[in-house]
Protein backbone atom coordinates (compact mmCIF):
# COMPACT_ATOMS: atom_id res chain seq x y z
CA UNK A 1 0.00 0.00 0.00
CA UNK A 2 2.85 2.35 0.81
CA UNK A 3 4.49 1.83 -2.58
CA UNK A 4 1.17 2.27 -4.28
CA UNK A 5 0.51 5.54 -2.51
CA UNK A 6 4.03 6.80 -3.12
CA UNK A 7 3.60 6.13 -6.83
CA UNK A 8 0.19 7.75 -6.80
CA UNK A 9 1.15 10.92 -4.94
CA UNK A 10 4.80 11.05 -5.79
CA UNK A 11 5.80 12.21 -2.34
CA UNK A 12 7.06 9.97 0.42
CA UNK A 13 6.11 12.17 3.35
CA UNK A 14 2.59 12.73 2.13
CA UNK A 15 2.15 9.03 1.54
CA UNK A 16 3.30 8.31 5.07
CA UNK A 17 0.92 10.91 6.45
CA UNK A 18 -1.97 9.29 4.63
CA UNK A 19 -0.95 5.81 5.76
CA UNK A 20 -0.64 6.96 9.34
CA UNK A 21 -3.76 9.07 9.46
CA UNK A 22 -6.30 7.28 7.31
CA UNK A 23 -6.67 3.97 9.19
CA UNK A 24 -6.89 5.87 12.44
CA UNK A 25 -9.61 8.10 11.19
CA UNK A 26 -11.41 5.18 9.62
CA UNK A 27 -11.16 3.17 12.83
CA UNK A 28 -11.66 5.79 15.53
CA UNK A 29 -14.91 7.25 14.23
CA UNK A 30 -16.72 3.89 14.10
CA UNK A 31 -15.21 3.12 17.51
CA UNK A 32 -16.84 6.27 18.91
CA UNK A 33 -20.18 5.18 17.49
CA UNK A 34 -19.83 1.72 18.97
CA UNK A 35 -18.79 3.20 22.30
CA UNK A 36 -21.86 5.39 22.44
CA UNK A 37 -24.05 2.39 21.78
CA UNK A 38 -22.09 0.37 24.35
CA UNK A 39 -22.48 3.10 26.92
CA UNK A 40 -26.22 3.09 26.49
CA UNK A 41 -26.42 -0.68 26.69
CA UNK A 42 -24.15 -0.90 29.72
CA UNK A 43 -26.02 1.81 31.55
CA UNK A 44 -29.33 0.19 30.68
CA UNK A 45 -28.30 -3.24 31.90
CA UNK A 46 -26.85 -1.84 35.08
CA UNK A 47 -30.27 -0.35 35.74
CA UNK A 48 -32.04 -3.64 34.94
CA UNK A 49 -33.48 -2.30 31.72
CA UNK A 50 -32.72 -2.99 28.08
CA UNK A 51 -31.46 0.11 26.35
CA UNK A 52 -31.88 0.66 22.61
CA UNK A 53 -33.76 -2.27 21.11
CA UNK A 54 -35.59 -1.10 18.02
CA UNK A 55 -32.84 -0.12 15.58
CA UNK A 56 -31.24 -3.33 14.43
CA UNK A 57 -30.23 -6.27 16.61
CA UNK A 58 -30.39 -4.95 20.18
CA UNK A 59 -30.25 -1.46 18.75
CA UNK A 60 -26.73 -1.67 17.37
CA UNK A 61 -27.57 0.93 14.73
CA UNK A 62 -28.66 3.42 17.35
CA UNK A 63 -25.62 5.67 17.22
CA UNK A 64 -25.68 5.67 13.42
CA UNK A 65 -29.24 6.92 13.60
CA UNK A 66 -28.18 9.50 16.18
CA UNK A 67 -25.36 10.83 14.05
CA UNK A 68 -27.45 10.79 10.89
CA UNK A 69 -30.12 12.72 12.72
CA UNK A 70 -27.65 15.19 14.20
CA UNK A 71 -26.32 15.79 10.70
CA UNK A 72 -29.68 16.99 9.48
CA UNK A 73 -30.50 19.11 12.49
CA UNK A 74 -30.56 22.84 12.10
CA UNK A 75 -27.20 24.41 12.84
CA UNK A 76 -28.03 27.08 15.34
CA UNK A 77 -25.74 29.90 16.31
CA UNK A 78 -27.14 32.04 19.11
CA UNK A 79 -27.71 35.63 18.08
CA UNK A 80 -25.52 37.07 20.79
CA UNK A 81 -22.76 34.51 20.42
CA UNK A 82 -19.31 35.21 19.09
CA UNK A 83 -19.81 33.46 15.76
CA UNK A 84 -16.19 32.93 14.76
CA UNK A 85 -15.06 31.37 18.00
CA UNK A 86 -18.34 29.49 18.34
CA UNK A 87 -17.67 27.72 15.05
CA UNK A 88 -13.98 27.09 15.65
CA UNK A 89 -14.32 25.60 19.15
CA UNK A 90 -15.84 22.16 18.29
CA UNK A 91 -13.27 21.65 15.55
CA UNK A 92 -10.48 22.51 17.98
CA UNK A 93 -11.72 20.08 20.64
CA UNK A 94 -12.26 17.38 18.03
CA UNK A 95 -8.80 17.87 16.53
CA UNK A 96 -7.11 17.89 19.90
CA UNK A 97 -8.72 14.69 21.06
CA UNK A 98 -7.97 12.90 17.78
CA UNK A 99 -4.42 14.22 17.65
CA UNK A 100 -3.66 12.17 20.76
CA UNK A 101 -4.10 9.01 18.70
CA UNK A 102 -1.15 9.97 16.51
CA UNK A 103 1.40 8.60 18.97
CA UNK A 104 -0.54 5.69 20.44
CA UNK A 105 0.92 2.34 19.34
CA UNK A 106 -1.95 0.10 18.29
CA UNK A 107 0.35 -2.81 17.58
CA UNK A 108 3.98 -3.29 16.76
CA UNK A 109 2.98 -3.07 13.10
CA UNK A 110 0.90 0.06 13.27
CA UNK A 111 1.97 3.23 14.99
CA UNK A 112 1.01 6.63 13.70
CA UNK A 113 4.22 8.22 14.87
CA UNK A 114 6.85 6.56 17.01
CA UNK A 115 7.79 9.94 18.37
CA UNK A 116 10.33 9.88 21.16
CA UNK A 117 8.19 12.20 23.30
CA UNK A 118 4.94 10.26 22.87
CA UNK A 119 3.44 10.47 26.34
CA UNK A 120 4.47 14.07 26.70
CA UNK A 121 2.83 14.87 23.39
CA UNK A 122 -0.49 13.47 24.62
CA UNK A 123 -0.33 15.60 27.76
CA UNK A 124 0.41 18.66 25.66
CA UNK A 125 -2.31 18.04 23.12
CA UNK A 126 -4.92 17.52 25.80
CA UNK A 127 -4.22 21.07 26.90
CA UNK A 128 -5.33 22.19 23.46
CA UNK A 129 -8.70 20.65 24.15
CA UNK A 130 -8.82 22.91 27.21
CA UNK A 131 -8.42 25.95 24.99
CA UNK A 132 -11.21 24.63 22.75
CA UNK A 133 -13.54 24.04 25.66
CA UNK A 134 -12.88 27.49 27.05
CA UNK A 135 -13.42 29.00 23.62
CA UNK A 136 -16.72 27.21 23.14
CA UNK A 137 -17.94 28.10 26.59
CA UNK A 138 -17.07 31.72 26.23
CA UNK A 139 -18.30 32.16 22.67
CA UNK A 140 -21.75 30.75 23.49
CA UNK A 141 -22.40 33.83 25.59
CA UNK A 142 -24.38 31.77 28.03
CA UNK A 143 -23.76 31.73 31.73
CA UNK A 144 -24.09 27.95 31.98
CA UNK A 145 -21.64 27.45 29.16
CA UNK A 146 -19.14 29.81 30.68
CA UNK A 147 -19.38 28.30 34.14
CA UNK A 148 -19.13 24.82 32.65
CA UNK A 149 -16.07 25.79 30.64
CA UNK A 150 -14.42 27.39 33.65
CA UNK A 151 -15.05 24.32 35.73
CA UNK A 152 -13.78 22.05 32.95
CA UNK A 153 -10.59 24.04 32.63
CA UNK A 154 -9.97 24.25 36.35
CA UNK A 155 -10.54 20.54 36.65
CA UNK A 156 -8.43 19.47 33.69
CA UNK A 157 -5.49 21.65 34.66
CA UNK A 158 -5.60 20.50 38.28
CA UNK A 159 -5.74 16.85 37.37
CA UNK A 160 -2.95 17.20 34.86
CA UNK A 161 -0.54 17.46 37.80
CA UNK A 162 -1.11 13.99 39.33
CA UNK A 163 -1.22 12.54 35.82
CA UNK A 164 2.11 14.10 34.99
CA UNK A 165 3.64 12.98 38.30
CA UNK A 166 2.62 9.37 37.80
CA UNK A 167 3.81 9.47 34.21
CA UNK A 168 7.07 10.93 35.48
CA UNK A 169 7.59 8.07 37.90
CA UNK A 170 7.00 5.61 35.09
CA UNK A 171 9.39 7.50 32.85
CA UNK A 172 11.97 7.20 35.60
CA UNK A 173 11.69 3.41 35.55
CA UNK A 174 11.50 2.95 31.81
CA UNK A 175 13.95 5.67 30.89
CA UNK A 176 11.96 6.71 27.86
CA UNK A 177 9.01 8.89 26.92
CA UNK A 178 8.13 6.84 23.88
CA UNK A 179 4.92 4.87 24.23
CA UNK A 180 6.18 2.44 21.64
CA UNK A 181 9.26 1.59 23.68
CA UNK A 182 7.27 1.35 26.90
CA UNK A 183 4.95 -1.15 25.21
CA UNK A 184 7.79 -3.10 23.69
CA UNK A 185 9.47 -3.37 27.09
CA UNK A 186 6.62 -5.35 28.60
CA UNK A 187 6.77 -8.20 26.14
CA UNK A 188 6.32 -11.83 27.08
CA UNK A 189 3.71 -12.81 29.62
CA UNK A 190 1.50 -10.73 31.85
CA UNK A 191 3.89 -10.78 34.80
CA UNK A 192 6.14 -8.56 32.76
CA UNK A 193 3.61 -5.74 32.83
CA UNK A 194 4.50 -2.75 34.92
CA UNK A 195 1.54 -3.24 37.19
CA UNK A 196 3.35 -6.44 38.26
CA UNK A 197 6.64 -4.65 38.69
CA UNK A 198 8.03 -4.63 35.19
CA UNK A 199 10.03 -7.07 33.10
CA UNK A 200 13.15 -7.23 35.26
CA UNK A 201 13.27 -9.99 37.82
CA UNK A 202 14.69 -9.38 41.25
CA UNK A 203 13.90 -7.80 44.57
CA UNK A 204 12.90 -4.47 42.99
CA UNK A 205 10.12 -6.11 41.04
CA UNK A 206 8.35 -7.26 44.17
CA UNK A 207 9.05 -4.03 46.02
CA UNK A 208 7.53 -2.07 43.16
CA UNK A 209 4.21 -3.90 42.95
CA UNK A 210 2.27 -2.00 45.67
CA UNK A 211 3.55 1.35 44.46
CA UNK A 212 2.65 0.49 40.91
CA UNK A 213 -0.85 -0.28 42.11
CA UNK A 214 -1.07 3.12 43.80
CA UNK A 215 0.30 4.77 40.68
CA UNK A 216 -2.26 2.98 38.54
CA UNK A 217 -5.13 4.09 40.77
CA UNK A 218 -3.95 7.69 40.74
CA UNK A 219 -3.44 7.69 36.99
CA UNK A 220 -6.84 6.13 36.37
CA UNK A 221 -8.62 8.60 38.62
CA UNK A 222 -6.90 11.66 37.30
CA UNK A 223 -7.31 10.69 33.63
CA UNK A 224 -10.96 9.98 34.37
CA UNK A 225 -11.23 13.52 35.66
CA UNK A 226 -9.38 14.85 32.64
CA UNK A 227 -11.99 13.50 30.25
CA UNK A 228 -14.81 14.90 32.40
CA UNK A 229 -16.51 11.62 33.09
CA UNK A 230 -18.68 10.83 36.08
CA UNK A 231 -18.01 11.09 39.01
CA UNK A 232 -15.91 14.02 37.86
CA UNK A 233 -18.43 15.43 35.39
CA UNK A 234 -19.15 18.72 37.08
CA UNK A 235 -18.41 20.63 33.85
CA UNK A 236 -21.55 19.08 32.35
CA UNK A 237 -23.50 18.63 35.55
CA UNK A 238 -27.02 18.44 34.17
CA UNK A 239 -28.81 19.36 37.34
CA UNK A 240 -26.97 22.63 37.76
CA UNK A 241 -25.47 23.63 34.42
CA UNK A 242 -27.96 22.33 31.81
CA UNK A 243 -25.28 20.95 29.52
CA UNK A 244 -22.09 22.65 30.57
CA UNK A 245 -19.88 24.07 27.88
CA UNK A 246 -21.91 22.55 25.04
CA UNK A 247 -25.25 23.94 26.19
CA UNK A 248 -25.67 26.12 23.13
CA UNK A 249 -24.37 23.66 20.57
CA UNK A 250 -26.75 21.81 18.32
CA UNK A 251 -26.52 19.40 15.44
CA UNK A 252 -23.17 18.34 14.11
CA UNK A 253 -21.18 20.72 16.27
CA UNK A 254 -22.56 19.04 19.33
CA UNK A 255 -21.84 15.67 17.72
CA UNK A 256 -18.22 16.72 17.40
CA UNK A 257 -18.03 17.43 21.13
CA UNK A 258 -19.74 14.12 21.75
CA UNK A 259 -17.42 12.10 19.51
CA UNK A 260 -14.41 13.89 20.98
CA UNK A 261 -15.51 12.86 24.45
CA UNK A 262 -15.69 9.20 23.48
CA UNK A 263 -12.41 9.38 21.60
CA UNK A 264 -10.85 10.89 24.71
CA UNK A 265 -12.18 8.07 26.82
CA UNK A 266 -10.39 5.56 24.63
CA UNK A 267 -7.24 7.65 24.50
CA UNK A 268 -6.85 7.78 28.27
CA UNK A 269 -7.74 4.10 28.58
CA UNK A 270 -5.04 3.40 26.01
CA UNK A 271 -2.52 5.40 28.02
CA UNK A 272 -3.36 3.51 31.20
CA UNK A 273 -3.13 0.19 29.42
CA UNK A 274 0.16 1.09 27.74
CA UNK A 275 1.85 2.33 30.88
CA UNK A 276 0.69 -0.34 33.31
CA UNK A 277 -0.86 -3.18 31.34
CA UNK A 278 1.57 -3.84 28.56
CA UNK A 279 -0.17 -1.94 25.79
CA UNK A 280 -0.50 -4.16 22.77
CA UNK A 281 1.34 -7.08 24.39
CA UNK A 282 -0.56 -10.29 24.80
CA UNK A 283 -0.78 -11.60 28.38
CA UNK A 284 -0.36 -15.23 27.36
CA UNK A 285 1.85 -15.29 24.27
CA UNK A 286 0.92 -15.26 20.62
CA UNK A 287 -0.75 -17.75 18.34
CA UNK A 288 1.51 -16.47 15.62
CA UNK A 289 4.55 -17.68 17.56
CA UNK A 290 2.88 -20.98 18.27
CA UNK A 291 2.13 -21.75 14.65
CA UNK A 292 5.09 -19.89 13.18
CA UNK A 293 3.07 -17.39 11.18
CA UNK A 294 4.73 -14.10 11.96
CA UNK A 295 2.28 -11.92 10.03
CA UNK A 296 -0.45 -12.86 12.47
CA UNK A 297 1.29 -11.25 15.44
CA UNK A 298 0.51 -7.58 14.68
CA UNK A 299 -3.16 -8.43 14.28
CA UNK A 300 -3.19 -10.29 17.57
CA UNK A 301 -1.51 -7.30 19.18
CA UNK A 302 -4.16 -5.05 17.72
CA UNK A 303 -6.80 -7.31 19.22
CA UNK A 304 -5.20 -7.24 22.66
CA UNK A 305 -4.76 -3.49 22.54
CA UNK A 306 -8.35 -2.84 21.59
CA UNK A 307 -9.56 -5.34 24.17
CA UNK A 308 -7.61 -3.68 26.96
CA UNK A 309 -8.69 -0.21 25.84
CA UNK A 310 -12.33 -1.22 25.68
CA UNK A 311 -12.08 -2.87 29.08
CA UNK A 312 -10.96 0.38 30.67
CA UNK A 313 -13.64 2.27 28.77
CA UNK A 314 -16.10 -0.21 30.22
CA UNK A 315 -14.74 0.46 33.72
CA UNK A 316 -15.30 4.16 33.13
CA UNK A 317 -18.93 3.45 32.25
CA UNK A 318 -19.18 1.14 35.22
CA UNK A 319 -17.95 3.89 37.54
CA UNK A 320 -20.40 6.29 35.99
CA UNK A 321 -23.35 4.23 37.13
CA UNK A 322 -21.82 3.53 40.52
CA UNK A 323 -20.80 6.89 41.87
CA UNK A 324 -22.66 10.15 42.32
CA UNK A 325 -21.21 13.39 41.06
CA UNK A 326 -18.62 15.15 43.22
CA UNK A 327 -19.06 18.69 44.38
CA UNK A 328 -16.56 21.27 43.16
CA UNK A 329 -14.82 21.57 46.52
CA UNK A 330 -14.72 17.79 46.93
CA UNK A 331 -13.21 17.50 43.48
CA UNK A 332 -10.45 19.95 44.23
CA UNK A 333 -9.99 18.39 47.66
CA UNK A 334 -9.45 14.98 46.09
CA UNK A 335 -6.94 16.37 43.64
CA UNK A 336 -4.86 18.67 45.79
CA UNK A 337 -5.06 16.97 49.17
CA UNK A 338 -5.06 13.31 48.18
CA UNK A 339 -3.89 12.55 44.66
CA UNK A 340 -1.00 15.01 44.48
CA UNK A 341 0.60 14.12 47.87
CA UNK A 342 0.22 10.43 47.10
CA UNK A 343 1.69 10.79 43.65
CA UNK A 344 4.66 12.81 44.92
CA UNK A 345 5.31 10.22 47.63
CA UNK A 346 4.93 7.50 45.05
CA UNK A 347 7.39 9.27 42.76
CA UNK A 348 9.99 9.53 45.49
CA UNK A 349 9.57 5.93 46.65
CA UNK A 350 9.72 4.54 43.12
CA UNK A 351 12.82 6.62 42.54
CA UNK A 352 14.43 5.19 45.67
CA UNK A 353 13.51 1.63 44.75
CA UNK A 354 14.87 1.99 41.26
CA UNK A 355 18.15 3.11 42.78
CA UNK A 356 18.56 -0.23 44.56
Amino acid sequence: MYEFLTNLIGNEVLAWIIIAALPLFVVILPYALVAIWLERKVSAHMQDRLGPMITGWHGWLQSFADVLKLLQKEDLVPAEADKKLFNIAPALVFTASYAAFAVIPFSSGFIGSGAEIGIFFILAVSSFAVAGILMGGWASNNKYSLIGAMRAVAQIISYEIPTALVVLSMVMITGTLSLEKISAMQTGYFWNWFIFGGPEWGLTKFLLIPFMLVGFLILYMSTLAEVNRTPFDIPEAESELVGGYHTEYSGMKFAMFFLAEYANMFAVSAIVSIIFFGGYQSPVGYLGDLFGVSWLIPFEQLFWFVAKGLFFVFVQMWLRWTLPRLRVDQLMNLCWKYLIPYSIANLIIIGLISLI
Binding site: N11, F120, S126, V130, M135, W138, L146, V153, I157
Partner: protein, 165 residues
Protein backbone atom coordinates in the same frame (compact mmCIF):
# COMPACT_ATOMS: atom_id res chain seq x y z
CA UNK B 1 10.20 23.12 -2.65
CA UNK B 2 9.75 19.89 -0.79
CA UNK B 3 7.19 19.05 1.82
CA UNK B 4 9.48 19.97 4.69
CA UNK B 5 9.71 23.53 3.41
CA UNK B 6 6.00 23.60 2.83
CA UNK B 7 5.33 22.65 6.43
CA UNK B 8 7.84 25.22 7.59
CA UNK B 9 6.13 27.98 5.63
CA UNK B 10 2.77 26.82 6.90
CA UNK B 11 3.86 27.10 10.51
CA UNK B 12 5.64 30.38 9.84
CA UNK B 13 2.52 31.80 8.26
CA UNK B 14 0.38 30.60 11.16
CA UNK B 15 2.77 32.20 13.62
CA UNK B 16 3.04 35.52 11.83
CA UNK B 17 -0.62 35.88 10.94
CA UNK B 18 -1.83 35.03 14.42
CA UNK B 19 0.79 37.34 15.91
CA UNK B 20 -0.52 40.11 13.68
CA UNK B 21 -4.03 39.40 14.93
CA UNK B 22 -2.76 39.52 18.52
CA UNK B 23 -1.54 43.07 18.16
CA UNK B 24 -4.17 44.40 15.78
CA UNK B 25 -7.39 42.87 17.11
CA UNK B 26 -9.61 45.16 19.11
CA UNK B 27 -11.15 42.26 20.98
CA UNK B 28 -8.97 41.01 23.81
CA UNK B 29 -10.41 37.52 23.62
CA UNK B 30 -9.46 37.28 19.96
CA UNK B 31 -5.98 38.46 20.84
CA UNK B 32 -5.69 35.86 23.58
CA UNK B 33 -6.84 33.01 21.38
CA UNK B 34 -4.56 34.11 18.56
CA UNK B 35 -1.72 34.08 21.04
CA UNK B 36 -2.53 30.41 21.64
CA UNK B 37 -2.21 29.87 17.91
CA UNK B 38 1.06 31.81 17.83
CA UNK B 39 2.52 29.59 20.52
CA UNK B 40 1.32 26.58 18.60
CA UNK B 41 3.04 27.79 15.45
CA UNK B 42 6.26 28.43 17.35
CA UNK B 43 6.04 24.94 18.84
CA UNK B 44 5.67 23.56 15.32
CA UNK B 45 8.80 25.45 14.25
CA UNK B 46 10.71 24.07 17.24
CA UNK B 47 9.74 20.55 16.30
CA UNK B 48 10.75 21.14 12.69
CA UNK B 49 14.16 22.25 13.99
CA UNK B 50 14.53 18.93 15.79
CA UNK B 51 13.84 20.29 19.24
CA UNK B 52 10.85 18.09 19.88
CA UNK B 53 11.02 18.31 23.66
CA UNK B 54 11.09 22.10 23.64
CA UNK B 55 8.22 22.17 21.18
CA UNK B 56 6.01 19.99 23.30
CA UNK B 57 6.94 21.87 26.46
CA UNK B 58 6.01 25.05 24.64
CA UNK B 59 2.53 23.70 24.04
CA UNK B 60 2.21 22.18 27.49
CA UNK B 61 3.38 25.19 29.45
CA UNK B 62 2.34 28.13 27.32
CA UNK B 63 -0.87 26.84 25.76
CA UNK B 64 -1.98 24.59 28.58
CA UNK B 65 -0.91 26.72 31.48
CA UNK B 66 -0.09 30.33 30.90
CA UNK B 67 -2.56 31.07 28.14
CA UNK B 68 -5.40 29.46 30.01
CA UNK B 69 -4.51 31.53 33.04
CA UNK B 70 -4.48 34.62 30.86
CA UNK B 71 -7.85 33.76 29.35
CA UNK B 72 -9.25 33.19 32.81
CA UNK B 73 -8.01 36.58 33.83
CA UNK B 74 -9.46 38.30 30.78
CA UNK B 75 -12.79 36.57 31.10
CA UNK B 76 -13.24 37.06 34.80
CA UNK B 77 -12.25 40.68 34.89
CA UNK B 78 -14.77 41.70 32.24
CA UNK B 79 -18.48 41.49 31.98
CA UNK B 80 -19.33 37.98 30.88
CA UNK B 81 -22.66 38.84 29.37
CA UNK B 82 -21.34 41.07 26.64
CA UNK B 83 -18.79 40.39 23.98
CA UNK B 84 -17.73 43.97 24.27
CA UNK B 85 -14.20 43.56 25.51
CA UNK B 86 -12.11 46.00 23.57
CA UNK B 87 -8.66 47.43 23.55
CA UNK B 88 -7.62 50.58 21.81
CA UNK B 89 -4.32 51.37 20.17
CA UNK B 90 -2.75 54.41 21.75
CA UNK B 91 0.47 56.26 21.01
CA UNK B 92 0.79 54.88 17.49
CA UNK B 93 3.58 57.21 16.41
CA UNK B 94 6.05 56.66 19.29
CA UNK B 95 5.52 52.93 19.20
CA UNK B 96 5.99 52.85 15.43
CA UNK B 97 9.29 54.70 15.77
CA UNK B 98 10.44 52.43 18.57
CA UNK B 99 9.49 49.31 16.65
CA UNK B 100 11.17 50.62 13.51
CA UNK B 101 14.43 51.26 15.38
CA UNK B 102 14.28 47.87 17.04
CA UNK B 103 13.54 46.06 13.78
CA UNK B 104 16.34 47.89 12.06
CA UNK B 105 18.72 46.85 14.81
CA UNK B 106 17.70 43.21 14.64
CA UNK B 107 17.86 43.11 10.86
CA UNK B 108 21.27 44.76 10.79
CA UNK B 109 22.57 42.26 13.32
CA UNK B 110 21.14 39.46 11.24
CA UNK B 111 22.82 40.74 8.11
CA UNK B 112 26.19 41.62 9.59
CA UNK B 113 26.71 38.59 11.72
CA UNK B 114 28.81 35.89 10.11
CA UNK B 115 26.62 32.84 10.52
CA UNK B 116 28.36 29.51 10.84
CA UNK B 117 26.57 26.90 8.79
CA UNK B 118 26.60 23.45 10.30
CA UNK B 119 25.66 20.25 8.50
CA UNK B 120 21.88 19.94 8.70
CA UNK B 121 21.66 16.93 10.90
CA UNK B 122 18.78 16.94 13.29
CA UNK B 123 19.22 14.71 16.31
CA UNK B 124 16.63 11.95 16.67
CA UNK B 125 15.89 12.69 20.28
CA UNK B 126 16.85 15.54 22.51
CA UNK B 127 15.23 14.59 25.77
CA UNK B 128 18.07 12.44 27.12
CA UNK B 129 20.82 14.92 26.33
CA UNK B 130 18.75 17.78 27.66
CA UNK B 131 18.20 15.99 30.93
CA UNK B 132 21.88 15.16 31.29
CA UNK B 133 22.91 18.73 30.55
CA UNK B 134 20.41 20.14 33.00
CA UNK B 135 21.76 18.17 35.93
CA UNK B 136 25.43 18.38 35.10
CA UNK B 137 26.51 21.53 33.37
CA UNK B 138 23.57 23.82 34.13
CA UNK B 139 22.62 22.36 37.48
CA UNK B 140 23.06 25.64 39.32
CA UNK B 141 20.73 27.57 37.04
CA UNK B 142 18.26 24.70 37.07
CA UNK B 143 18.19 24.63 40.87
CA UNK B 144 17.95 28.41 41.11
CA UNK B 145 14.96 28.41 38.76
CA UNK B 146 13.36 25.69 40.80
CA UNK B 147 13.84 27.70 43.99
CA UNK B 148 12.46 30.79 42.29
CA UNK B 149 9.33 28.91 41.28
CA UNK B 150 9.00 27.47 44.77
CA UNK B 151 9.27 30.92 46.29
CA UNK B 152 6.64 32.22 43.91
CA UNK B 153 4.39 29.30 44.79
CA UNK B 154 4.76 29.83 48.52
CA UNK B 155 4.23 33.56 48.09
CA UNK B 156 1.07 33.02 46.09
CA UNK B 157 -0.23 30.55 48.65
CA UNK B 158 0.45 32.91 51.52
CA UNK B 159 -1.24 35.82 49.74
CA UNK B 160 -4.27 33.73 48.88
CA UNK B 161 -4.56 32.36 52.39
CA UNK B 162 -7.23 33.73 54.64
CA UNK B 163 -5.88 35.17 57.87
CA UNK B 164 -7.18 33.69 61.05
CA UNK B 165 -9.02 36.39 62.93
Amino acid sequence: MNLYDLIFYLFAAVTLLSAAVVVSSKNIIYSAFSLVLTFFGVAGLYILLGADFIGVVQILVYVGGIMILLLFGVMLTNKITSVDIRTGTVNVLPSAIAIGVFMGLVTSIMIWTKWVSLPTETPLTTTNELGKLLITEYVLIFELLAILLLVALIGAASIARRDKE
